[in-house]
């Protein structure tokens, strides 16, 4: 087990390194320089040159990259070129925001979709099953920005019971913050429900078909116990894998939701950083999203092998 984790960690680090190089190379193709991007196209060329000099944007690309990598290893990610503040601060705030939204969406969607999937599986072929399956499928098919617009229209503009943006006023209490995050969270719930429910359903059906389930039923155990003790564990396996892969999306991919709901998450920060050629911010931001994604998939794989002895043994051989 330890060997397995160790190997995965090393591989993940290599991936991260590759990721940083890819983003580095990629960001160099963006036109314009930092000074010009900050001051805008109408500013004096002299002013732009002076600013570039100040910001150290005239160093060679390689040295900029090495500077940054060196900084990361000492946990100093440098200053955002556009905001003139430490990257940690800018990203820290954004990360906390993204985490809050992701967590809220998670807490709602995971139990809901697992329950839905299991329920549908237990009534496989019935109308209720088809409703849940097709309903989930349709909801997922609708792009997140469409959900956002519809939810805002209904709950905020027509009914007026929920705010149209996700950023609560400063110093808001826990419940106020949740109130502001409900609508964007539900957009995510709609988008993710179908996928996770489908996985849970498929896993449950497979588990219901399995020998150990039949044995338990023959032994006379009530259905609820059967489900709880045997079926759930196995239907959770594919679900965990799916949830893990959605982590990257939930943290870094919510640009559209963040834009519509005016929420300062990582998605928006990355987008702005790429537009303004804010190299330190962009690099560090992508790395953080990458780390979240890799950690999530690693945890999922560990959970998978813990829950499923067969897989663990196969991986260790």
């Amino acid at each position: 087990m330890a060997g397995f984790i160790g190997k995965r960690l090393v591989l993940s680090l290599i991936t991260l390194l590759l990721l940083s190089i890819i983003v580095f190379v990629g960001s160099q193709v963006l036109p314009g320089d930092v000074g010009r991007n900050i001051l805008g196209p109408f500013a004096d060329q002299q002013a732009v040159d002076a600013l570039n000099e100040q910001l150290g944007a005239n160093e060679s690309l390689i040295s900029q990259y090495l500077d940054w990598i060196g900084g990361v290893l000492t946990l100093d990610m440098g200053d955002s070129l556009a905001f003139r503040r430490p990257v940690q601060e800018v990203l820290g705030d954004a990360l906390v925001n993204s985490a809050k939204l992701a967590l809220l969406a998670f807490i709602i969607v995971v139990p809901l979709s697992i329950a839905g999937g299991v329920y549908a599986a237990l009534r496989e072929g019935s109308t209720r099953d088809r409703l849940i399956s097709l309903g989930g499928l349709s909801a997922t098919a609708v792009p997140d920005f469409v959900w956002a617009v519809l939810l805002i229209l209904v709950f905020s503009l027509v009914l007026g019971i929920l705010p149209a943006t996700a950023t609560a006023p400063p110093e808001s209490g826990f419940f106020t913050q949740v109130e502001y995050l409900i609508l964007p969270a539900f957009c995510l719930v709609f988008v993710l429900f179908g996928y996770i429910a489908r996985m849970a359903r498929a896993g449950t059906i497979e588990a219901l078909d399995a020998d150990y389930t039949r044995t338990a039923v023959i032994k006379g155990l009530p259905q609820r116990t059967v489900v709880r003790r045997h079926v759930l564990r196995n239907s959770l396996l594919p679900t965990i894998a799916v949830i893990a892969t959605q982590c990257g999306y939930l943290i870094g991919g919510l640009l559209v939701i963040e834009t519509i709901f005016n929420y300062q998450g990582i998605g928006q920060s990355l987008f702005r950083a790429a537009q303004e050629k804010d190299f330190p911010l962009l690099q560090s931001g992508v790395m953080i999203v990458g780390i979240v994604y890799l950690v999530a998939t690693l945890l999922a794989d560990i959970a998978y092998s813990v829950l499923n002895p067969r897989v663990r043994l196969a991986q260790e051989s």
């Binding site: 591989l11 590759l18 997922t140 920005f145 991919g253 999203v289």
Partner: protein
């Protein structure tokens, strides 16, 4: 070849591999034809395809003709879906808008499938060091948010349908590669692979001529599943301003241009393109579902 007529007293030889394969194919098609979901999905897709091909002929108005003095007119007998921000007929734009997305999304998915399958074959076949290295690169790409990739690509290549195709193709390839790799790992252990290797066939031949036909099932399933995502993603990229450019009547762009206006009661320029996107994705998913079930057997 018929074996029924001559009775040699020996047990009948097994039917040649080709026959079994063809029988399985026929069975699959039969399954598809009887699957309601598949048929409905295909029907809906068919309607969109007709819109895409015959767009201008079906549209009552010129989708590009502006009329700013009649902007944001509500749906009426003159304009079934109303007019947009610069007075264009929304109904015509929704119909003609099918073309771009039905060209870009499948092309992107095809590109992603081709690249992904190639990568999956390579990593699955070679395993070892090659697999490790390439898989790491694949993982790195998987970790990059789609939009960042989108921005970089658009600024480097300029906004156009081609750029969108490339971006989505590159983004989907890793995911497809993963699935194909898993399938290849299984096939690799089969006898025919060993047989080919014993014959000293070159690696590319083994991969593409021997293994590939046997993983076409999962590949096809992946293609259709990804197609749904592709439609979704194309719409999202357009919504963010990357990709299909005005005045093209792209559905995502139409939603983007008008969603701020819904609070003023101007729902029609947003609702109809949004519904079009949703219905198309659902239709493609239904087709994908049907195909997946057919190949499961």
């Amino acid at each position: 070849m018929s074996t029924a007529s001559v009775d040699t007293g020996l047990p009948a030889p097994a039917a040649p591999a080709g026959d079994a394969e063809r029988a399985a194919q026929r069975e699959r098609f039969a399954l598809l034809r009887s699957s309601k979901t598949f048929l409905v999905g295909a029907g809906i897709l068919g309607i969109f395809v007709i819109c895409a091909i015959f767009g201008e002929a079906l549209a009552p108005d010129d989708p590009y003709a502006t009329n700013p003095l009649n902007d944001l007119a509500a749906p009426s007998s003159d304009h079934w879906f109303g007019t947009d921000r610069v007075g264009r007929d929304v109904f015509s734009r929704v119909i003609v808008g099918a073309r771009d997305i039905l060209v870009v999304a499948p092309a992107a998915t095809l590109l992603g499938t081709v690249i992904g399958t190639a990568l999956g074959l390579i990593t699955g076949y070679y395993r070892g060091a090659v697999d490790d290295v390439v898989s790491r690169v694949i993982d790195a790409f998987l970790a990059i948010p789609v939009v960042i990739l989108g921005i970089l690509a658009i600024t480097a290549l300029g906004p156009s349908n081609l750029t969108v195709i490339i971006v989505i193709g590159v983004v989907f390839a890793p995911v497809i590669a993963r699935t194909v790799r898993a399938a290849v790992l299984q096939e690799r252990e089969m006898e025919y692979v060993a047989a080919a290797q014993l014959r000293n066939e070159k690696a590319p031949y083994v991969m593409f001529a021997e293994i590939l036909p046997n993983v076409m099932g999962p590949v096809m399933v992946e293609f259709t599943v990804r197609l749904g995502y592709a439609v979704f993603t194309v719409a999202t990229l357009s919504f963010l301003g990357f990709g299909i450019q005005p005045p093209a009547p792209d559905w995502g762009v139409q939603v983007y241009e008008h969603y701020g206006l819904i609070s003023g009661g101007y729902w029609w320029p947003v609702l109809f393109p949004a519904l079009a996107i949703g219905i198309l994705v659902i239709a493609v998913n239904m087709i994908a579902d049907g195909i997946a079930k057919a190949f499961e057997r």
